[in-house]
Subunit: 400 residues, 2 copies
Amino acid sequence: MQTSPLAPKSYPTLKAIAGVRLGTAESGIRYAGRTDLLVAELAEGTTVAGVLTKSLTASASVLACRDSLISGKARLLVVNSGNSNAFTGKAGVNSVERIRAAASKLFNCDKKNIFTSSTGVIGEKLPDEKITSALPAIPLSETAWDEAARAIMTTDTYPKLATMTAQIEGTTVTINGIAKGSGMIAPDMATMLAYVFTDAKIPTGELQKILSEENESTFNSITVDGDTSTSDTLLLFATGKADNKNGDYSDFRRSLHILLHDLALQIVKDGEGAEKLITITAAGAESKKAAKNIAMSIANSPLVKTAIAASDANWGRIVMAVGKAGEKADRDKLSISIGGVSVAINGEADANYSESQIASHMQGRDIIINVDVGIGNESATVYTCDLTHRYIDINGSYRT
Amino acid sequence: MQTSPLAPKSYPTLKAIAGVRLGTAESGIRYAGRTDLLVAELAEGTTVAGVLTKSLTASASVLACRDSLISGKARLLVVNSGNSNAFTGKAGVNSVERIRAAASKLFNCDKKNIFTSSTGVIGEKLPDEKITSALPAIPLSETAWDEAARAIMTTDTYPKLATMTAQIEGTTVTINGIAKGSGMIAPDMATMLAYVFTDAKIPTGELQKILSEENESTFNSITVDGDTSTSDTLLLFATGKADNKNGDYSDFRRSLHILLHDLALQIVKDGEGAEKLITITAAGAESKKAAKNIAMSIANSPLVKTAIAASDANWGRIVMAVGKAGEKADRDKLSISIGGVSVAINGEADANYSESQIASHMQGRDIIINVDVGIGNESATVYTCDLTHRYIDINGSYRT
C-alpha cells in the first residue's frame, strides 16, 4: 500500500527506558513475511494506567485489560496483529487465558499483571497456539522500538513513534510511545492501539488521573470516520527506574501531552485515504463538552470531508454540521473562518470574503477551520482527515 | 445527472384533491430552463400539521413555518428551489416577510396562514423579488402534481410522488404527497422537503398527532449520510372538502403511513450516489429508542456502507456499529443475519455460515440486515443507501 502523503519525513530514534525490554516475532497469524507479535517485559514495580474502548462489543483482550488495571501493576505486554479476537465469544476469552497462562510461566509473573491486545480481523478465532509457541524464542532488547511499532501495524502505511523527556522534582525521565491506526477505524482490522513507556516513578492512581485527562484532548479528540473500534487501547507503563521523588508531575504531564498529541496526529495523518489534515476548533460554546461535540459534528460530517477533499471551501456545510450537533449555538452570532480568513460572521456570509482569498489554503495539506457559536467562552479542538475516493477503495476492497 | 439505478419504473398519476390548486413557474433564481417555484392554494378552512428540522441553524422559512403552525390553519404554500435562504441572517427573515406580504395581497389571505420553504444553496441572499414578481402570473390547476414535484427538485434525479385513499367514517378521502431529497443531505443544496395534501376533514390537533407519530417511523427512519439539513420540512394540509364526520382516523393513519413510507424510501433511493437500498432492523433492544439508535448507528457507519457498496458481507463492521451505538447489547447473545441467512449467533460467527450463501444477495439492489442484541423485545427498522464513489464525486465537485 502506498504511504500516506501526510507521513512524517523522518522517524525519531527512541532510547532505552530502564525497566523495559522489547521483542518481536513472526508468529504467522495472518501475515506472511512480517512480524505480528510484540512482547514488552516490564520491571517489577511497574505501575500502569489505561484507557479502553467504550464499545459494548469490546474484544476479549479489552475485557481482560479492564480487570488487570484494577491491580495497577504490570509485568508484561503481549500484542498481536492480524486478528482482533473480537466477537469470538467464549473461545476468545479462553484464548486470552491461554496466552496469559503460558506467558506467566515463561516470564515468571502473575497472570493478572499481563496485558494483552489483539488487532485485526473481527469474528475469526484467534490461533493463540501460534502466539504461545512463538513466545519462548523471542529475543528481548532495550532498543527495539522501531521493530515494536512495526509489529503492531495492520493497514497503517507507516510506523508511529514518539519520544519526550520531562523533569520530576529535579530528575529527568524519558517517555517513549508507539501507536497504530489507521484511525479509530481500520476496516475490519479494527483498532487504535497505543502504548507508552516511562522510567518515571508515579503511583497508579496519579498515573491514571494524568492519562485519563490527557487522553481526552489527544486520542479522544481525533476521528477518521466516527466509527469506534472494538479494541481501542491506550496503556501507560511507568517502571519507576528513574527513582524520582513523588511530587510535582506538571512537567511530566506537559511532556506526556505533547507525546500523546503527536501520536494521535500521526494516526489521523495515516487515516484511510487521508490526503489532508483538518484541524477544527469550536469556540464560544456553553461548555468544553458542547465545544467538542460541535467540533466533532463538523469533523464527522461526510459532506464537510468530501468538500475538503475537493479543496472546496463549502462553509454552508459547516453551518449545517453546527446546526445538527444539538448544542446551543446562536445562529445570529455564528462566525466561521477558514485558514484564518473570515468567511461568515454574525450569522451571515462575510461581505468582505471572496473564495480566492483561501484558494491556496484549500489546496494545501493542512486545513484550519475555526467556528465561534456565540454562546459562551469554552472551546475545543479536534483533528480529522478528508474523505477521498481512496477511503472507499480501501474499505470496499479490503477483504477481497 | 444520471438517474438513480434505484428510481421507480413508473410514476403514479395523482388525482385532484378538492380545495387544492397548484401552479409552477420559472422564476430564474438559479436554474436556467426549468421551473423553480411552486404555489399551492388551499381552500378556506384547511387545517395543517408539520414537522420541521431540529437544526439549531434552521432557515428563515423554517422559523416562519414554526410560527404559522401555531394557528393550525393554512391558505397558501410557496416553495422555491435553487436557494435555501439559510444562514442569511436578518436579510433572510425580511425575504420571507416580503414574500408573505405580496402573497397575502394576491391570494387575499392572512400572512400567518402562508407557509414558505426554500431549498438550495446555503448562505446566499434569496432574490425574493424574482419570486414576488413571478407570483401574479402563475396559472393554477387541480392536477399539476407532476409539475409540482419537479419544481421543488434540486439534486434529485427523479420527481417523488405518491397517492393513497382512505376511509373515514364511511367517507372516502384522498391523500397526495410530493417530496424531494436527495437525502437529508443534498450538498449545500441542503433539504428534505415533503408536502402532503388531503381532502379529509381533520382538526389541527388530531392531524398534528397523527403526522408526528407517523413521521417517526417513516421520514425520521431514513438516513443517507447522517447529516441533517437546515431546512427539513414536512407539512400535511387537510382541506376538509371530503366533509367526512370526525371519528375513527385509523384507516387514514394507515394510508398516510404507507404514503409517507413510500416517499421516504424514494428519497433514500435517490440518495447521492446510491446504488443499493439497505433495510436495517435492530431487534431485542431495551426500548424502541434504543433499537432505533442501534439501527441508525449501523446505517450511518461509513465502514458498513462502503462494504455494502462493494457487495462485501463484512459483518464485523456491523458488530462494531452495534458496539458504538452506546445502547445496551449483550455481546454473548448478539445475532446478525444478512438476506435472511444467519451469519453470527450468540456472540460468535455462525459455524454453519459461509459467504457463498449470501453472495447473490449482496450483489443485488436490496440489502436486508437484521440484528438482535439480546436484551429486550423492542425493535426498529431504518433505511439507508450505500456509500459509493459517486457520493464523493457529487459532493466534491458540486460547486465547481
